[in-house]
């Protein structure tokens, strides 16, 4: 840990902005964020030379604060490269070779290379470690066959974080390996997967005899599960929601605004009941925000622990309830669905608020499934936070090939 304090960090950020400024029309995202990376201001808790300055994770707020203060154009990690930045970078940092770190971290941060996550399979959802795509060693390469699902951004991605089985005779968690997959390799086929909104936000990715060099492995052979955990824990923090710094912001605001716009309570019994419900949801949302804040401030190491699962679970369950309440506030208007159900890619265009709410109502159903179902989150909280004993496992301590699975 170096001794750069808040003042110096703020100075360095201003120095960066003097060299290159995001509001300058000649400076695009890649150019600005490239410079930010080179100054060590991308992730200050990363090592020097790899986008960071070896500081604490918390110190990043001073950089971000300066950028917000002095720039109109503020790039958001989630828009630039959500998965690459949120999950890919920490995983590469933790397990990649020096060469890989130098090669991949910068374009992840600049968004020049989008990343996606190739974990889930049709037969392996909650039980990701039960996946059955196979990589077979062939000289310096691995030949991979199988199918992945729920891959968001696959159709834009340069690289994918691929977990696949390299040893079916090992116990299930021991037979996996983790690769960085070049999505342009022959045999990688991406197909849209339509969800209940009609849109295809996710993909199916088919892997047919895809040849991956052994050098693209993250961690060691058979260490894939361990590496995946790093990725998944970072995912749950990202999905924890309620990260708004301001009370009453976020999805709860949609509900409160909708309610107030429609006149709020008219004193009727029905409105009093809805008002009570909204107050209850407001409280839950505020407590999600505060609980996440407490979790962050008690997170001393840079590695997210199981505590992140509290936020993920609360957020997923609460988000569904918030949108359900929105539809009830809409009454009859909730019967119509203006965004329409065309089978297409998400349009990316900004929806009007009514459409945003209705789309959000449907989209929210996935919150308690994606990134670990609420059931899995409760297992994690029970076992890893409270120390309760594991369920009886019939899939451990024997070769994966002998464990029952979907046909």
């Amino acid at each position: 840990m170096t001794s750069i304090g808040e003042t110096e960090l703020r100075e360095r950020t201003r120095a960066l902005l003097e060299q290159v400024h995001p509001d300058d029309p000649d400076v695009d995202c890649a150019a600005f964020r490239g410079a930010q990376f080179d100054h060590g201001l991308a992730w200050v808790h990363f090592p020097e030379g790899l986008g960071g300055l070896d500081l604490t994770r918390k110190a990043q707020v001073f950089v971000d604060d300066e950028l917000r203060q002095h720039c109109k154009t503020v790039y958001n990690d989630l828009s630039v490269n959500a998965i690459g930045i949120g999950m890919g970078a920490p995983t590469v940092l933790a397990y990649g070779s020096e060469e890989m770190k130098r090669r991949y971290l910068r374009p992840i941060f600049t968004g020049e290379e989008i990343w996606c996550q190739l974990f889930s399979e049709p037969g392996a959802g909650s039980d990701v470690a039960g996946l059955s795509s196979r990589a077979v060693r062939d000289g310096d390469d691995w030949i991979v066959n199988g199918q992945k699902v729920w891959t968001s951004l696959a159709h834009y991605s340069a690289y994918g974080m691929l977990v696949t089985r390299t040893d079916p005779e090992a116990a299930k968690h021991d037979g996996l390996s983790y690769f960085v997959l070049d999505m342009k390799l022959p045999g990688v086929e991406v197909k849209p997967l339509h969800q209940i909104t009609g849109e295809a936000e996710f993909n199916e990715v088919f892997l047919n005899d895809v040849r991956i060099p052994n050098s693209m492995m993250l961690g060691k052979e058979g260490q894939g599960w361990k590496v995946s955990i790093t990725t998944l824990m970072n995912e749950r923090v990202a999905l924890g929601g309620g990260t708004e710094s301001r009370r009453g912001a976020g999805p709860i605001q949609l509900l409160v605004d909708l309610w107030q716009e429609r006149g709020g309570s008219d004193g009727s019994a029905a409105d009093a009941v809805m008002r009570d419900r909204i107050a209850g949801l407001w409280i839950e949302y505020e407590l999600l925000r505060l609980t996440n804040q407490r979790a962050r401030s008690s997170m001393r190491s840079g590695v997210p622990g199981p505590e992140g699962s509290v936020g993920k679970l609360m957020s997923a369950e609460l988000n569904k309830k918030l949108y359900e309440a929105c539809l009830d506030v809409l009454e009859g208007e909730g019967l119509t669905y203006e965004p329409g159900f065309d089978l297409r890619r998400p349009s990316g265009k900004r929806l009007d608020r009514l459409s945003l709410i209705k789309h959000g109502f449907l989209r929210s159903r996935a919150n308690s499934i994606e990134g670990g179902t609420s059931e899995i989150m409760r297992n994690i909280l029970g076992e890893r936070v409270l120390g309760l004993p594991q369920d009886v496992r019939v899939d451990k301590d024997r070769p994966w090939s002998e464990v029952p699975r979907n046909g």
Binding site: A269, G332, L362, I369
Partner: protein, 372 residues
């Protein structure tokens, strides 16, 4: 207070309807019809009306119907809800049929009901208005008297199967209070527009009247008690649909839980899933009790229908929504895909809960009935 007492005949009716819908309204047919312009398969509709006699189930024989009562209608609706049948059944066979039966004079019944029973005429009931709510008090459309008839100008919305209906029964303010008027589907000055619905399996329309001719249905007089009764019957019938849909969600979820293997064992062997299914079962059984209770009081003609219908809607709305939501959750990712039918039930469940007022609205009505 009518007891719930199904007969052998009811069970036979249920079996016949279920078999028919398994053949003629499987998932593929539902998906085809829900995106079609008409919204239903005329061939299936004809069979439903003429071979099975379901459309005229509650219509007396003298008007060409089967002469059964509301319990039989509810049995059919439960099965239709279960199969997500796309057809103008709820609008014609329940809403319009009962509006005419209870509100029309003999001439109107004779003129309208035989064609409805035969499935040859589609009738829809238009009550609610943009900006209004589910209370009859919020009806504002006015019927102006004009030489020998009436004229309507204004709008009605959320009209079930209102686009393409042959006959519309429209609630409007008349000189003698709230009235119900007949408007021909092709009347001048009438425009109908299909609404983009959350639930693709039930079509809703926005109707615009511009000096459209209309004829009072039955004797002029305050139609409020009639329409309240029709709304209570609608609530009872909708609850039957909801119970059927919820039951299907429970079945889908528990079947999947038996088959789907994760961690080396069927997911239904995990208590998280098993207990969720058990709670669904409890709620689905209660939803059936609610729907049946309303159906039997509707059939008995007893005046506790207001309470039982409110109870049925309040409970069945929540139970169906929870069952459909749990069905998605238990299926995990696949339950969130367009290809899986879970979302069709989920959308139907939420729409049904909002149609005619949500659960809290109906608890409010019930509380008033109970004097709470």
């Amino acid at each position: 207070m009518a007891d719930i007492q199904f007969t052998e005949e009811h069970e036979q009716l249920r079996a016949v309807v279920r078999k028919f819908l398994e053949d003629r309204s499987p998932e593929a047919a539902v998906r085809a019809q829900m995106v079609s312009e008409r919204g239903y398969d005329p061939e299936v509709w004809k069979q439903l009306a003429q071979e099975l006699g379901l459309v005229g189930l509650a219509i007396p024989e003298q008007y060409g119907g089967a002469g059964y009562g509301f319990v039989e209608l509810a049995v059919a609706l439960e099965e239709m809800g279960r199969a997500l049948l796309c057809a103008p059944f709820f609008s014609s066979a329940l809403l319009a049929t009962h509006a005419i039966l209870l509100g029309g004079d003999d001439a109107a019944r004779e003129e309208l009901l035989p064609a409805i029973a035969a499935g040859e005429s589609l009738a829809a009931v238009a009550l609610f208005e943009p900006g209004g709510d589910w209370d009859l008090d919020s009806i504002a459309l006015e019927a102006r008297s004009s030489d020998g008839g009436s004229r309507l100008s204004g709008r009605k919305t959320y009209v079930i199967d209102g686009h393409g209906a042959d006959v519309l029964l429209v609630a409007a303010r008349t000189e003698s209070g709230l009235g119900l008027l007949r408007v021909a589907g092709d009347a001048p000055g009438l425009k109908s527009e299909p609404l983009p619905t959350l639930d693709l399996t039930r079509k809703l329309a926005l109707l615009e009247f511009e000096d459209t001719p209309a004829v009072p249905l039955g004797d002029a007089g305050d139609a409020t008690p009639l329409l309240r009764r029709v709304l209570d019957l609608a609530a009872a019938g909708l609850a039957a649909e909801q119970a059927g849909g919820a039951q299907r969600c429970l079945e889908m979820a528990s079947e999947y839980a038996k088959e789907r293997v994760q961690f080396g064992r069927p997911i239904g062997s995990f208590q998280a899933i098993k207990h969720r299914c058990a709670d669904m079962l409890m709620q689905v059984e209660a939803a059936k009790s609610a729907a049946y209770s309303a159906a039997f009081s509707a059939a008995s003609g007893e005046d506790d229908l207001r309470a039982t219908a409110a109870m049925a809607q309040a409970y069945a709305s929540d139970a169906y929504f929870r069952a459909a939501a749990d069905c998605i959750q238990i299926h995990g990712g696949v339950g969130f895909t367009w290809e899986h039918p879970a979302h069709l039930y989920f959308k139907r469940a939420k729409s049904s809960a909002l149609l005619f007022g949500d659960a809290a609205y109906h608890r409010d009505r019930l509380a008033t009935e109970l004097g709470l």
